[in-house]
Amino acid sequence: MGCLKSEILEQTFVPMQIRYKSALGIDPLADAGGQQTLSPYHAMGCNPALMVDPFGLQGQTSMSTPGMRYFDIYEDIRAKFPTLHMHLPGGKLFGAVTDYYKMSSIIPSFLKAEASIAILSGGAGGRGFKGSFQSYLISNNIELINKNRSVATDALNWPNRTTREYLYEYFRYTLLEEVVVTAGKADWKDWGKRMHNRFGGSLGYDFEGYGAVQQSSGGDGSWYSWNGPLMRALVPDKFTIALGAEITGILGIGVQPITFSILIRGKEPGIYYTPQVNVNLGAGAFFSAGVEFTSSYFTGDPRNITASMMTGHTYGIMANGGYLADVSLGASYSPTNSRGTQGFINRSAGIGVGVGAFGGAQYQYTIGVIPLWQWKR
């Protein structure tokens, strides 16, 4: 019956719906990502006006974006349940969380989406959802966790637990099909990230005070938090002080045997000994000995920075000039993967004694990393 008959529309058949049938036969992803609510013969979510399906596998809205932000989840829901608005009061799809309570009475399987929206809504809406969610679980005889007296079961009776935690438990069990054994703080954070990975950034948003889930662009959801853009602009992810000397005439070398790097963010913050050597190629000639300060910004999530990322190659440009007293300026990039899309962007400035002028390219190699002092996050 193609799109005419689907589980969600069994009781409320809409004769005006136009048929769209996949020429490929049964959809190989018929059970994937909410599509199980549609016939396995459907294409484009039965809604070619809204959706695209270039591979004939799973319909996507043209508005869907990687990481699924707030709005995209609504779009995703609308894409997967294209006629849903017909069943809602006033045909409203975007609205208060209470509308979604009503949705769940129409389509039980829609709970997943409803829970998403409750998480997104937060505040009073989220708190209000807690009661509805619990009632739903009880009335449908859904047991969150099948372990005796598991943390999740306890959580339902624990008034200090937040709505999000209940929902996370729900997701953990029903969507990721895994059984909860423990739920310590680290465990919650890990699950927050996994929820983000599977369902998009907004789903894990604000869990554990914005700390649990990263946004793909780096940093976390809050611009003013330690890993947010504001603090990262004020305090670099890494700071390096290098003492050394360089000599160059078109081609030259330099050594910074006394180099200390302070890893400010990441998994292993601390002070490290990171000796460096470098090769310069460019115009001019100079000799210089002095100290160079470098601040580094990691283009990925700063919480993923590790000490081992400080070793290896750095490519950049630099200019140096002076007579007796000399100054240098530089900018460089240290890729942390072979694709080069993630790495440290470094800015450096140095002062010292020297003579000459130079401008050109610089290759730098950090020989190793020796931890001197590490502190806990």
Binding site: N304, T336, F358
Partner: protein, 127 residues
């Protein structure tokens, strides 16, 4: 003669200046172009990985200068992880990803030969 020498010296100085500007400029431009190429090409690769569905196996891994660990899939896709890897992912794991998403599932082979769901990651995140 003296005048000639002065003129020649000025000409040489000017030539040297031009050489410095051109050679120094080329070196600086080369680095900038390399950086831009890296970013454009990397984003293009990421986009391609996003679009295509993946159903493949991890066949090998290598460390990228200690900065990250790359896991290579049979179909050429690379997955990046931060050390320590522990049991995040390993050679032999099966990877499944739908089209138009960065999210992929990892399945691990059990002693009985069956693959069991292990975890979910995002291509855009370095885990």
């Amino acid at each position: 003669m003296a005048m000639e020498k002065i003129v020649l010296s000025m000409v040489n100085k000017n030539r040297m200046k031009i050489f410095n500007i051109i050679f120094g400029g080329i070196c600086i431009l080369a680095v900038i172009i390399w950086f831009i190429y890296l970013q454009i090409n990397g984003r293009k690769q990421e986009k391609e990985d996003y679009i295509k569905p993946i159903f493949s196996k991890v066949v090998k891994s290598n460390s990228y200068y200690g900065r990250s660990v790359e896991f290579h899939l049979e179909d050429g896709v690379k997955l990046y992880f931060m050390p320590p890897i522990n049991d995040k992912i390993m050679v032999g794991d099966s990877i499944r990803k739908d089209a138009n998403t960065y999210v992929y599932d990892v399945y691990r082979k059990q002693p009985n030969g069956e693959y069991k769901f292990w975890t979910t990651y995002n291509l855009m995140d370095t885990n």
